[in-house]
């Protein structure tokens, strides 16, 4: 008898590949769950029934998870879905006696750039506050708590995902084509990637695994690939793809900073926002607020220009005049990924899941190019008209 497997968030890149891969396997009865109809085109083309679930609706979840043996969580969404929704899902899985819960996390929980020791999973997690990594870490903690409470769970941490249908690779291509990409230090730094089909293999191995204590496992490709290698493999698909400019990493850090999303001082920002012209104008519509504003302005005016100026400076800070250069509009966040430096090891996944990537880097990239070419009319003369205009 086959195992009933619910894939939550089945319409995404990983979910769709997982559904397609397991479609013909008798081991699993696959139940693809989606949230909305907008992104499910790749799955819908298969003609198989799709199910809908709302992670924020407990009754909808109970229906979905009833009589399910295994659950893979590939879902994404806003903060509420990611946190409250996941908690609902974990509660339901525990209640319904789910035997295996595989959660897709991210290497982003180790920070951006990651902690220097994060070649290994035991490194301290230090995501940038309020970033995607912080959200994924909060999710990991919920899964680990559920694992302790008796839900057999595995957390997989992939880096950026490649292979056919990879929008990550498509994004890099369009950044290069639009001149918004730069290699740092000639692209010598390591790039952590995983072919989506290898990630699918890891998910299936995790479903079969006996180590289900909610430990985090890196799932990456095994080869030491650099950013230059990656760009070279994409070059045949890109106009002037073999002529990507490089800048020194130091210069980039000087100009754009070395870390990802910075934590904003929310209180001072809120105060700045409150005294902004826009908010004041909106408040002035109300007679009482208009009166208060008028009196405050008069009071500040009585203190003299210099004190008013100093007050403004204290609250709003000095006027920042950014340096504007010709090449200012770069894909900073994408380029900054080259500063991560660390290569995540798959040793623990090898030990605990017997995970071994099936696709070499070259094979993976060749398959991506084959997919891209096939979907772009084999780069025909007519297609060239669209890109070479």
């Amino acid at each position: 008898m086959s195992v009933r497997l619910a894939i939550i968030g089945a319409s995404g890149f990983v979910g769709s590949t997982l559904v397609e891969s397991l479609g013909n396997q008798s081991e699993f009865e696959v139940l693809p769950y989606i949230h909305g109809a907008g992104r499910a085109a790749r799955l819908a083309r298969l003609g198989a029934p799709l199910h809908s679930v709302n992670l924020l609706d407990r009754s909808s979840l109970s229906q979905a998870i009833k009589s399910v043996d295994y659950v893979v969580n590939c879902s994404r969404g806003n903060n509420q879905v990611m946190l409250e929704g996941l908690e609902n899902l974990l509660d339901t899985c525990r209640r319904e006696g789910v035997q295996r819960f595989v959660h897709l996390s991210s290497v982003a929980v180790y920070g951006d750039p990651p902690h220097p020791q994060s070649a290994d999973e035991v490194a301290p997690t230090q995501p940038v506050p309020a970033s995607y990594g912080a959200l994924k870490l909060a999710q990991d903690q919920k899964v680990q708590k559920a694992a302790k409470a008796g839900l057999p769970s595995v957390i997989l941490c992939p880096p950026n995902i490649t292979g056919p249908y990879s929008d990550y690779l498509c994004d890099i291509m369009s950044s290069i084509e639009s001149g918004r990409f730069r290699l740092l230090d000639d692209g010598r730094s390591a790039v952590n990637i995983v072919d989506v089909r290898d990630l699918v293999t890891a998910i299936v191995l995790a479903l079969r695994s006996q180590v289900t204590n909610g430990q985090r496992l890196f799932i990456c490709d095994a080869e030491p690939v650099t950013w230059l290698d990656l760009c070279k493999e994409l070059a045949p698909l890109i106009r002037q793809g073999d002529a990507i400019a490089s800048i020194p990493a130091e210069e980039f850090v000087d100009r754009y900073g070395g870390s990802g999303q910075q934590f904003q001082n929310k209180q001072s920002n809120a105060l700045k926002h409150l005294v902004s012209d826009g908010v004041r104008a909106a408040l002035q519509v109300h007679p009482t607020w208009a009166q208060i504003e008028k009196r405050l302005r008069r009071l500040v005016g009585m203190l003299g220009n210099r004190i008013e100026e100093r007050l403004q400076l204290t609250i709003a800070g000095p006027i920042k005049v950014p340096r504007i250069t010709v090449q200012e509009s770069l894909e900073v966040n994408l380029i900054r990924q080259q500063l991560r430096g660390i290569r995540h090891s798959i040793n623990r996944a090898r030990e605990q899941l017997s995970y071994e990537p099936n696709y070499t880097f070259r094979q993976s990239m060749a398959d991506f190019r084959h997919w891209h070419n096939g979907f772009c009319d084999g780069r025909s003369v007519l297609w060239q008209l669209l890109v070479n205009r």
Partner: protein
């Protein structure tokens, strides 16, 4: 409600397109007064009225609409376009029906026949026809100002997209097709409008029983000298910046968005130059394309003239869509793209 307007309108279907486009267009138009929204899901119908603070009666069926009306918008899942349109026409009501007018060619022919027999207006919801960009492009091609058209290429793709409330787009029976039917149909309509039915077609998509998510259309028109060839790619799984490129003897005519108001011309003689082209003498139109479409329909009903896209034109699009699906070839995909080996 706009009680001063003299065209009483009902909207059949309270889905995402009614909420996002048809209802706000109707509320913005001084010509119409929405007297009912018809949907079996009355809660949803009331909710979309509340979004706009509109006090419009809702009704579970056309029969249950208590007031008389002069016309109807049909914005239901695709498979209900034709049955609903026929029902309304048989009651003597002119219809603005969302695209495609019908899933089956025979249904579209019936609509044409009923509309002709009863002298009723049917307008089909190819709203981009009302954009400045489409009109100026048509003018440029038809006038021959830039010489003969040599080649045509078009692409439009995004990962994901329009999300209908009923999820009808995920089912072949209710959608009638995938990305070709939902997105590509606008291009199909323009292709026929500009050059007529193509003489040769070659079509491939990635369907494995469900609505296709990616498709490629090659077409050509016979000419005395050399054939006019074209390519169109539509996708829900690959980001492809919307673009229509028409290569003429003089250079490239480029429509970057079919909802825009202008197009670009890049002369062959100096590819570093780019000219923006608009039609002279037309005042800037602040109305949405859906409002323009609705008012075109209302004016046709009032004046008895044909709307911009009539039933006969809608039928042509349904014919070509069906012909493409009938000659469908499987899109060549890397085996490894979809069948990871899980051992």
């Amino acid at each position: 409600m706009n009680n001063n307007a003299d065209f009483q309108l009902i909207i059949v279907g309270a889905g995402a397109i009614t909420q996002a486009a048809h209802l706000p267009a109707a509320l913005a138009s001084p010509l119409v007064n929405v007297v009912a929204i018809v949907d079996t899901d009355l809660v949803r119908a009331r909710r979309i009225c509340a979004v706009y603070g509109a006090d419009i009666p809702v009704s579970p069926s056309i029969d249950a609409v208590s007031t008389s009306f002069d016309g109807a918008i049909v914005a239901t899942p695709n498979h209900l376009h034709a049955p609903m349109t026929k029902t309304l026409l048989e009651r003597g009501v002119p219809v603005l029906v969302e695209k495609p007018m019908a899933v089956e060619e025979s249904e579209a022919e019936e609509i044409v026949a009923i509309a002709a027999a009863r002298g009723l207006i049917v307008s089909v919801g190819y709203h981009t026809r009302h954009s400045g960009a489409c009109r100026v492009l048509k003018h440029c091609v038809a006038s021959g100002r830039f010489g003969e058209t040599l080649r045509i290429a078009h692409q439009d793709g995004s990962i994901g997209g329009w999300s209908p409330v009923s999820a009808y787009n995920l089912n072949m029976k209710t959608a009638g097709g995938g990305v070709l039917t939902s997105t590509g149909t606008h291009f199909i309509d323009r292709l026929i409008w500009f050059w007529g039915m193509p003489d040769q077609i070659q079509y491939s998509d990635d369907s494995r029983g469900g609505p296709e998510s990616h498709c490629i259309l090659r077409f050509s028109y016979r000419r005395k000298q050399r054939a006019l060839e074209g390519l169109a790619i539509f996708s829900k799984v690959m980001g492809l910046a919307e673009n229509t490129i028409i290569e003429t003897e003089e250079g490239l005519l480029i429509m970057q968005r079919d909802s825009a108001e202008d197009i670009l011309f890049r002369p062959r003689s100096d590819v570093r130059l780019s000219y923006r082209i608009v039609l002279q003498g037309i005042a800037p139109d602040r109305r949405s394309l859906y409002q323009r479409q609705l008012e075109d329909f209302v004016n046709a009903c009032r004046g008895g003239e044909q709307p911009c896209v009539n039933a006969e034109t809608g039928l042509q699009s349904v014919r070509l869509l069906n012909k493409l699906y009938a000659t469908r070839q499987a899109l060549i995909q890397p085996e490894s793209a979809s069948t990871a080996e899980v051992t």
